[in-house]
């Protein structure tokens, strides 16, 4: 990093807690949110991922071993320790642990950080407090029971003496470590359960926070690689002459295990140098693969699907299809590697610090314990940073060129070089008896997940199969639940409707008593489930207990033209004790955006053997103007906490599709929703008195022509715009009138993703809107 501030000053005696499981002395170094290295004094190691350091000035530094990617873990884990030790929260700082201190346990995923750490961190905090109390009691020569701790101060119960934690560091260090400190009862919690902004926010809003891409070390160069245009493609020849003429270019050559790499003095030079390469490709055996073929392969690969009992009075069958999804973290994949002769140092935004160390050891031949890995802040994770590809590449490049490098994916590399949420195909069958009782449930999927629904249904049959495809897949926020719960919660809705029952009542009757039933009841109450809605509006409900018990109601309105507005989302969650309710609320709001974006508009498609999308223009994300109000209700609880990183996602999209059905009678079974027209009538705003327009070809792929005539206006120009499913304007242009209000304009709409859009033609008060379809 630019500055290495050594937090190591022998005149400042720090009380380092290490609390002793092993009794071994360990030197540990850490980095904080701004990336400065902090080198504390020797400590006795206690727990693999827990340290508390109290400085004489009262600054309390808590070490967190889990990666911060927006889920607020640096705040919530610190809160757990600070609670039990009764620290003064305003004096708490957080530093990031490293794998090379021998402590391990850096894996951050599966919504497990809080679940796995809760008991251990409470004990760590309680130990600190017990030792501080012992130290104060000794100093004052009073019984420990006569001392109490609160907000960084020990005070005498039957007296007036007070002492700050920072003033006790010397004395506390002499106290032997208690093995079983008593924990608070949850009713005594003062910090846990109160809303706290993320501890790193001051660094984030001042621009000081350091992500992987912000690491700068002396002598560091910038590297990008050439990615294959298709899975299995290879370079048959290349010419780097033009590249090497450009300013700032250092190298353009093959690196073993990576491929063609451009090394430069800065990112711009590296990207420009890459563009200037002349490459002949061998497109390989997947060159004709596309999404349509993948879809066919999945459909034909599903095999036999079991039937519901023949005696069922009513049988329902529905097929669902979900696309590949990119993680598209806001910060692209990157890693800084400094591979030296016999040691190495890595700076990396990763969810798996330990795996990164092993991966770098693997590709460099260095021993793992000679490699230091610093976990920076992560500009989003969502599961993508459970992989180690970016670090292996950085390490190989640094080793080959013998310089420290910052290796990065461009946005396009990142979108095309992901391990995607798998595309999947699902067949569901359900049976009902004459009273509307469920007699059978079958859910079979290809390449997705099928788990049994939480409902009391006799012998549910869920199973999955797969077809091999060259597209790499990986964990994506809530993993298999993204497909499994979407399908289950849509299909239970279909059964409810087929049974002539209210979708809430139907679910409610099938759920055993417990948390899930409670959150379902509460969400129906808060969302005013039974309150009548205006025409064109609808409500949908869905629930899951995949991570925490959670239920969503989504309210939508759909215009005659088919423009959708998500009016309101209500979520009710029981996540056990909410360590930081502000964080829980943020996770549920954020997961709603994830779910709406992917349900409504985004998908990864395959064309000519490779990923077609390249940036947020064709992998569309929800925007400010499309953001509904998300109301979050947390069920009060004192039970052990559950993770919240993923819980907020799975039940939003099915609730949305169920709401669309409720509003329009249209069942959307293929995502993204924008591929389905929600229009009640095809050309809603065609009025022959105003004029007419023609669009061709229809459907189109990239370009189309719009021609027409407006009767009411004949001079000036006509404004042409394109709106998406949510009514957001994506393109605006104008065309002059020729004569008699005639106009003609060719429009390039190639960057947008496939789907149904709306073309609006306007002049003065005359307006014509027409549905257009992009393939």
């Amino acid at each position: 990093m630019e500055s290495i501030s050594e937090d190591h000053d022998s005149s400042r005696r720090s009380f380092l807690l290490g609390m002793a499981a092993t009794g071994a002395l360990a030197f540990s170094t850490f980095s904080n949110a701004t990336g400065e290295l902090m080198i504390p004094e020797p400590s006795v190691s206690f727990e693999p991922n827990t340290w508390v350091k109290i400085d004489p000035d009262g600054t309390t530094t808590i070490t967190v071993a889990k990666s911060e990617m927006g889920q607020g873990v640096r705040t919530s884990l610190a809160m757990i320790i600070a609670e039990e030790m009764d620290a003064d929260w305003s004096k708490v700082k957080v530093r990031q642990a490293r794998p090379d201190t021998g402590n391990g346990g850096l894996f951050t995923g599966g919504s497990g950080s809080v679940i796995w750490s809760y008991d251990m961190l409470r004990k760590a905090g309680a130990t600190v407090k017990a030792m501080l109390i012992s130290a104060a009691a000794k100093k004052w020569n009073v019984a420990e029971s006569n001392c109490m701790a609160s907000s960084g101060v020990i005070s005498e119960k039957n007296g007036s003496r007070k002492i700050l934690y920072g003033e006790l560091t010397d004395d506390a260090a002499k106290i032997s470590v208690p093995s079983n400190p008593s924990l608070k009862s949850t009713g005594d919690f003062k910090l846990i359960g109160t809303p706290k902004p993320h501890i790193d926010n001051p660094d984030v809003v001042s621009g000081k926070a350091k992500y992987g891409l912000d690491v700068r070390i002396p002598g560091m160069k910038f590297a990008v690689m050439v990615r294959m245009p298709a899975y299995g493609a290879s370079i048959s020849s290349f010419d780097a002459t033009e590249t090497l003429k450009l300013p700032g270019i250092l190298k353009a050559e093959n690196v073993q295990g990576v491929g063609l790499v451009v090394l430069a003095d800065n990112t711009y030079a590296a990207l420009k140098g890459r563009e200037a390469l002349k490459i002949e490709w061998n497109m390989g055996s997947n060159a004709t693969l596309n999404s349509a073929k993948i879809s066919e392969q999945m459909k034909s690969g599903i095999g036999t699907v079991a039937d519901v009992p023949a005696s069922s009075a009513k049988k329902i069958e529905a097929h669902y299809e979900l696309p590949y999804l990119a993680h598209a973290t806001m910060e692209v994949m990157n890693c800084v590697a400094d591979i030296r002769q016999s040691s190495a140092e890595i700076w990396c935004p990763t969810q798996v610090g330990d795996d990164i160390r092993n991966a770098v050891a693997n590709v460099t031949g260095l021993s793992a314990n000679s490699i230091t890995v610093n976990t920076t802040l992560l500009g989003g994770g969502f599961g993508r940073r459970l992989n180690t590809d970016y670090a292996s590449i950085a390490a190989r490049i640094s080793k080959a060129f013998k310089v420290p490098v910052l290796f990065m994916f461009s946005r396009q590399d990142d979108m095309r070089g992901d391990a995607y949420r798998p595309a999947s195909y699902h067949i569901c069958k359900g049976g009902l008896d004459s009273t509307g009782k469920v007699t059978g449930w079958v859910h079979k999927t290809v390449n997705g997940e099928a788990s049994n629904p939480p409902y009391q249904i006799q012998s549910p049959n869920s199973n999955s199969t797969s077809v091999g495809l060259p597209i790499p897949t990986g964990a994506w926020r809530s993993v298999g639940h993204t497909s499994s719960i979407f399908v289950n919660e849509c299909f239970i809705d279909e059964l409810a409707v087929a049974a002539g029952k209210d979708p809430f009542e139907f679910r409610h009757n099938l759920l055993p008593n417990g948390k899930l039933k409670t959150v379902l009841e509460k969400v129906a109450e808060l969302a005013e489930w039974t309150k009548p809605l205006p025409k064109g509006w609808g409500r949908g409900i869905a629930c899951t207990d995949a991570y925490s018990a959670i239920a969503h109601v989504v309210e939508v309105s759909v215009s005659n033209a088919g423009i959708l507005k998500v009016e309101r989302i209500v979520a009710v969650v029981d996540c056990g004790i909410a360590i930081n309710p502000m964080g829980v609320e943020a996770q549920i709001q954020g997961a709603s955006v994830d779910a709406l974006s992917t349900a409504l508009k985004s998908e990864i498609t395959i064309e000519n053997g490779g990923v077609k999308q390249s940036t947020f223009r064709d992998f569309e994300w929800l925007r400010m103007n499309e953001m509904p109000k998300v109301e979050v209700h947390i069920i009060p609880s004192t039970a052990s906490p559950n993770g919240m990183g993923e819980a907020g996602f799975p039940s939003v999209s099915p609730a949305l599709c169920n709401a669309i059905f409720n509003a329009t009678g249209i069942r959307v079974r293929t995502l993204p929703i924008q591929k389905t027209s929600l229009a009640a009538v095809d050309d809603p705003e065609i009025n022959n008195n105003i004029g007419e327009i023609n669009v061709f070809p229809s459907p189109f792929t990239s370009f189309f022509k719009v021609e027409g005539q407006l009767n009411t206006a004949s001079s000036g120009e006509v404004l042409i715009s394109i709106q998406n499913l949510l009514g957001s304007t994506l393109l605006e242009t104008s065309a002059p009138f020729t004569n008699n209000g005639k106009f003609s304009q060719e429009i390039n709409f190639s960057p947008a993703s496939a789907g149904v859009y709306f073309l609006t033609v306007k002049s003065g008060s005359a307006l014509i809107m027409r549905k257009i379809v992009k393939e």
Partner: protein, 150 residues
């Protein structure tokens, strides 16, 4: 050579004139608060303020175009997080991963310069091209209102 003012300090940059301001800030001047999100003008992560009046996407703005101009980056918004937007962002807990937030704050700064008391609709229109992958929009909207004293 391009001379421009960055966060109140005059700087001379000896870089190719077509280098986007984004990379000059990050790789030449070490001002890494301004972020790379897409490089093609569709995410807003790289937004800076030009001449204290308009927001610009630094990935699409060349260094040469900025000759003689005054640029404010997130690092220059205040020295102590005292800008009303920074205060509101901290208080309302806007950031999740935080990566997009420099761009969000700089664009919101330009909005408040132009429209000191924005409505929800003003905010929606002004901020709609700034992507937050973590989905912090609801709190961004609330924080802009709070910073505007609404």
């Amino acid at each position: 050579m391009t001379t421009l003012t960055i966060n109140g300090q005059q700087k001379t940059l000896d870089v190719p004139p077509d280098m986007p301001l984004l990379w000059a800030l990050r790789d030449i001047l070490g001002l890494t608060g301004t972020k790379y999100g897409c490089g093609v003008g569709v995410c807003g992560a790289c937004t800076v303020l030009v001449d204290n009046s308009t927001a610009a996407r630094s990935c699409l703005t060349t260094v040469a175009e900025m000759e003689g101009k005054s640029i404010t980056t997130i690092e220059g918004l205040s020295t102590d997080n005292s800008h009303p937007l920074q205060k509101a962002w901290i208080e309302l807990g806007v950031p999740q991963c935080g990566y997009c937030q420099a761009g969000q704050i700089m664009n919101a700064t330009a909005l408040l310069i132009k429209t000191p008391k924005p409505t929800d609709e003003d905010i929606n229109l002004w901020m709609k091209d700034d992507i937050c992958r973590c989905g912090t929009y609801q709190r961004i909207r609330a924080a802009i209102h709070q910073a505007a004293g609404q």
